[in-house]
């Protein structure tokens, strides 16, 4: 070949490798006139190559390969940015619930379609291993396996827990591999350079690398530095340079503009409520209901009992846990109260005077024939005639409702935190397929994605507004295509009515932009938790008017905080860059570890 005619610089720059391994086998067949393959298969082979051809450097190829996931615009933008600007090494720092897994899956799939990535290691917390495997397989058609046996490390895409991977004998196996791609979920566990986790990742050979975390900064500016240095050593200079250039104090950055610019080269953070991320509306309906005389008697009885105990206890809130529980339970169902009362009496001495009081209350329970709330809920469900999830705080209430609905021919499935993964999946499956109703006691935790359902009933209200938000978040999340209808069952003349007033009318939390509530609560709770405040009001009040007044003032202070947060926002917009870093640090510093 006339290689000397080719331009020298091109030759130097791009090595051209020609594969001739096929030639001998072709020659042998010509010599022996066979065996020859089928002409149709020959054409199919050629067409397959044409169909899967990567025609350009830029276009996202993976989209044509994905049929069971429809990525959202911000997820596609993120994938493009990581591929074309960050060149496959990035920190994905979206806020919780915006689909970091989807983004990582898109990027991985794209590299796989382009045949640039084969060997992949995915390190996640042990509890998320199966979820990752499932998502990669079902949503992305990537044959990922969960690491269980040593030979699994030889598979192309392996999902394992960090704790397993960093221990011998696994560690040595992994150190000898070359990974085209490493993905680490919950990467804030790598914030400290001196930990085995961090050093372990440093030692691995990798081409592309994605670090996923909602909280890249928790306590300290150095955490950010460590994370980025792990990804791209020198991106922020050496430790000393970084401290000199960007750190004013442990928790305070300086030269935010510059830092922001540097960060934008390696990190992407999508925020909720920002452009491109669309959530459907929340529509709240309060269903007022009036207790029957017997139920009201029980409520009053319990309230009086609780208050007496509190006073005789010298106003010590700390020791009143079971009393407050009682007060909360009485808003939910008689079954819940009953259980707690029985347990309470078991703990008391035989001759305690409180025992007789408890048995008086139990008698009141026995007098109750109907359950106004359960009836109301059932009518509501019958009326809407669609999938609905009911949340309650108490297992006893859950069981009562299961029984009640089943007696009335309504198919319901339970969902509890204590169930194992398989059972949870099964319940979810039943709810999707057959049951109209799911009754859940647990709102938090991963895996409850109920986008197919857009009605929810708060059978009782948690006293912690974040828990209310978590409940709503199960249904009102990315992928929900309908407006979400939230029904609150509010019993008139009880503390529940007050709480609902407070949350709904005063701070309008049900319809608030997602992500705003935690900011408000955090400020508010600098002076003590919301729950505690409520308990105190309830226990110390002497009359209904007292409660009204106190709750009102609680509402006032929440309201003023909300205005503050809102105003902050306005100021932030004026100085966008500053805001970006500032809120970035606020957010990173405060969000709970997922």
């Amino acid at each position: 070949m006339n290689e000397d005619l080719q331009p020298q610089h091109a030759e130097e720059r791009v090595p051209l490798r020609i594969d001739r391994s096929w030639l001998e086998s072709f020659r042998t067949r010509i010599d022996h006139n066979g065996p020859w393959d089928d002409w149709t298969l020959f054409q199919l082979a050629y067409e397959a190559e044409q169909a899967r051809l990567v025609k350009s450097f830029d276009e996202l190829q993976c989209l044509t390969h994905l049929t069971s996931v429809e990525p959202l615009p911000h997820q596609l933008d993120t994938a493009r940015k990581v591929l074309h600007e960050m060149r496959g090494r990035a920190i994905l720092a979206d806020e919780v619930g915006l689909g970091k897994t989807i983004e990582a899956g898109l990027i991985l799939k794209e590299y796989m379609v382009r045949n640039l990535v084969k060997k992949t290691l995915i390190l996640v917390p042990a509890s998320l291993v199966l979820q990752w495997v499932r998502e990669l397989n079902h949503k992305f058609g990537i044959s990922a396996v969960a690491q269980k046996k040593p030979y699994h490390w030889q598979s192309e895409v392996v999902v394992a827990s960090m704790d397993t991977a960093k221990r011998e004998p696994h560690r040595s196996i992994l150190m000898d591999q070359e990974y085209d791609m490493i993905i680490i979920d919950e990467a804030h566990k790598l914030k400290n350079r001196k930990t085995t986790n961090y050093q372990f990742i440093v030692q691995l050979r990798k081409k592309f690398c994605l670090l996923l975390t909602a909280t890249p900064v928790q306590n300290d500016m150095n955490e950010l530095y460590n994370l980025i240095t792990l990804l791209k050593p020198g991106q922020l200079g050496r430790q000393g340079e970084y401290s000199a250039n960007y750190v004013a104090d442990k928790r305070l950055p300086k030269n935010e503009g510059g830092l922001q610019q540097e960060l934008s080269k390696v990190m992407i953070r999508n925020r909720r409520g920002e452009g491109g991320v669309h959530f459907t509306k929340r529509i709240v309906k309060n269903i007022p209901l009036t207790l029957s005389a017997e139920e009201q008697a029980l409520y009053d009885g319990v309230t009086t009992f609780v208050r007496e105990q509190y006073q005789s206890n010298g106003g010590d809130l700390g020791s009143m846990f079971s009393m407050i529980t009682l007060q909360r339970e009485v808003c939910s169902s008689r079954d819940a109260v009953f259980l707690t009362l029985v347990n309470l009496s078991k703990k008391l001495a035989e001759d305690s005077p409180i025992r007789s009081k408890i048995w008086e209350l139990v008698d009141l329970i026995k007098g109750i024939k109907e359950n106004t709330k359960a009836e109301t809920a059932m009518n509501l469900i019958r009326e809407m005639n669609e999938k609905v999830i009911i949340f309650t705080e108490y297992r006893a209430t859950q069981e009562y409702l299961m029984q009640y609905f089943s007696n009335h021919g309504l198919l319901a499935v339970p969902y509890r935190g204590g169930m194992n993964r398989g059972k949870k999946d099964w319940m979810m499956d039943l709810f999707r397929g057959r049951a109209q109703v799911m009754i859940a006691t647990e709102a938090g935790g991963e895996g409850i994605n109920l986008q197919f359902c857009h009605h929810m009933i708060n059978f009782d209200l948690p006293w912690n507004p974040m828990r209310v938000e978590q409940r709503i978040g199960r249904v009102h999340r990315l992928g929900q295509t309908n407006d979400v209808k939230i029904y609150n069952l509010s019993t008139q003349g009880t503390i529940e009515e007050h709480i609902l007033n407070l949350l709904h009318e005063k701070i309008n939390m049900f319809e608030m932009v997602i992500g705003r509530l935690d900011m408000i609560l955090e400020r508010f709770e600098e002076q003590g938790s919301f729950e505690r405040n409520l308990s105190r009001i309830l226990l110390e009040a002497n009359s209904k008017e007292d409660i009204d007044r106190e709750v009102h003032s609680l509402g006032q202070s929440l309201n003023s905080i909300r205005d503050e947060v809102h105003t902050d926002k306005t100021i932030q917009i004026q100085d966008e860059r500053r805001a970006a870093v500032q809120s970035f640090l606020n957010q990173y510093g405060t969000e709970a570890e997922a």
Binding site: M1, Q43, L116, K207
Partner: protein
């Protein structure tokens, strides 16, 4: 590929593998695989091992491949595979629920891919990106590598021409279907099909498309003879490679220049980070050695430096103060097989090269020898 193209692709494959089609609609096909197809597609090595050893008659798998899932009637027995991640409510909720209930009560699915009972035929979506289609494509690539073909000679006038006179001369061509991959941290590909005449030495591009329009047969037709080669196979391959090398060298190389620049930039960044650290480490080591504070110091060195012991007290304090900025019980001090800083630097440099180094690869998709009428005009 759209639904029709996929459907036609799969049907041609099944036909080429002599599978028997049980039912075919635009939406799906139900097929009983041939033995050959079963061995390639169903991943049942133990089953086939058993059949081969015992000589039992094989029962091949049946499948329903769905090309257009949206228009597919629901499968009465099948529950959704996933409850958490599947995107939509199954078309038949009652069936799904029943299936879920059966699962808990221990009705185990059959071995043949979630089937219930021997009569049930597993159903799979075959859309672009599905694993089944990818597998069929891969298998086709494996089993369609080399062919030898002759142009048919059966259209009226030519046959008369041939029969009336002497036999027709056929000219041998080598056809290579070649994939070019332009890769750095991203990748672009081209497919070329080049034909080379072993008689005239002529080169033609886009050869495969021309061949797909010809009537070709694997058997030498009657009244036909093939001409003797004037070029060797190696010469043919060399000419084709040369043509493509020229093409590569004349194509836009901006991407490669940019990738090389990125590579250099990244290396500079690494150097700026690691080189001072390495220097520091070397200095510290020297100091430490001098003052007997590291464990790695050898006895002879200690002795040699013993006279400097008076300074060691001050320096020891400096050294021990260093790690106090962060405390973590899970430190790595006595972790085995740590790589040194220098090894890490080397490793990072190699990673960057691996990631960005522009490279072009030329590989064969498949190759053919084709005999065509010698006066055939290639356009």
């Amino acid at each position: 590929m759209n639904t029709d193209q996929i459907s036609s692709y799969v049907m041609r494959y099944l036909d080429a593998m002599s599978c028997s089609i049980m039912e075919k609609t635009p939406v799906y096909v139900t097929v009983k695989l041939s033995e050959q197809a079963d061995r390639l597609l169903t991943n049942r090595p133990y089953y086939w091992g058993f059949i081969d050893r015992t000589g039992t008659e094989a029962e091949t798998m049946r499948y329903t491949f769905v090309f257009d899932p949206a228009n597919m009637p629901p499968d009465p027995y099948r529950a959704p595979i996933s409850y958490v991640t599947a995107p939509s409510v199954p078309a038949n909720p009652v069936a799904a629920g029943e299936a879920a209930i059966q699962r808990t009560f221990g009705v185990a699915p059959g071995f043949n891919g979630g089937a219930r009972g021997p009569d049930r035929i597993p159903r799979e979506n075959v859309d672009f990106g599905s694993r089944r289609l990818a597998q069929i494509m891969d298998v086709a690539k494996e089993s369609g590598r080399f062919v030898s073909l002759y142009e048919s000679l059966d259209s009226g006038s030519e046959i008369q021409f041939a029969r009336g006179r002497h036999s027709v001369a056929y000219e041998p061509w080598i056809m290579l279907n070649i994939k070019l991959e332009f890769a750095c941290d991203l990748k672009r590909e081209e497919v070329h099909s080049i034909g080379f005449s072993l008689i005239s030495g002529a080169l033609h591009t886009n050869f495969m498309n021309k061949m797909m329009q010809c009537e070709l047969t694997p058997k030498l037709p009657a009244q036909v003879h093939t001409m003797a080669w004037r070029y060797s196979l190696d010469q043919a391959v060399q000419q084709i490679e040369h043509l493509l090398t020229e093409h590569v060298r004349n194509s836009d190389e901006t991407w490669a220049v940019e990738a090389s620049e990125r590579l250099e930039d990244e290396w500079d960044r690494l150097a700026a980070y690691y080189e001072p650290l390495l220097k520091e480490e070397a200095e510290n080591k020297a100091k430490a050695t001098a003052n007997e504070v590291t464990v790695s110091v050898t006895e002879s060195e200690i002795e040699a430096k013993a006279d400097q012991a008076s300074q060691s007290i001050i320096l020891t304090i400096e050294v021990t103060e260093e790690p106090s900025d962060e405390t973590d019980q899970e430190t790595t001090d006595n972790e085995p097989n740590q790589r040194t800083l220098e090894e890490q630097y080397e490793m990072r440099r190699n990673e960057i090269e691996w990631q960005f180094q522009p490279r072009i690869e030329m590989s064969i998709i498949n190759a053919a020898i084709v005999y065509l009428r010698s006066n055939k005009v290639m356009t």
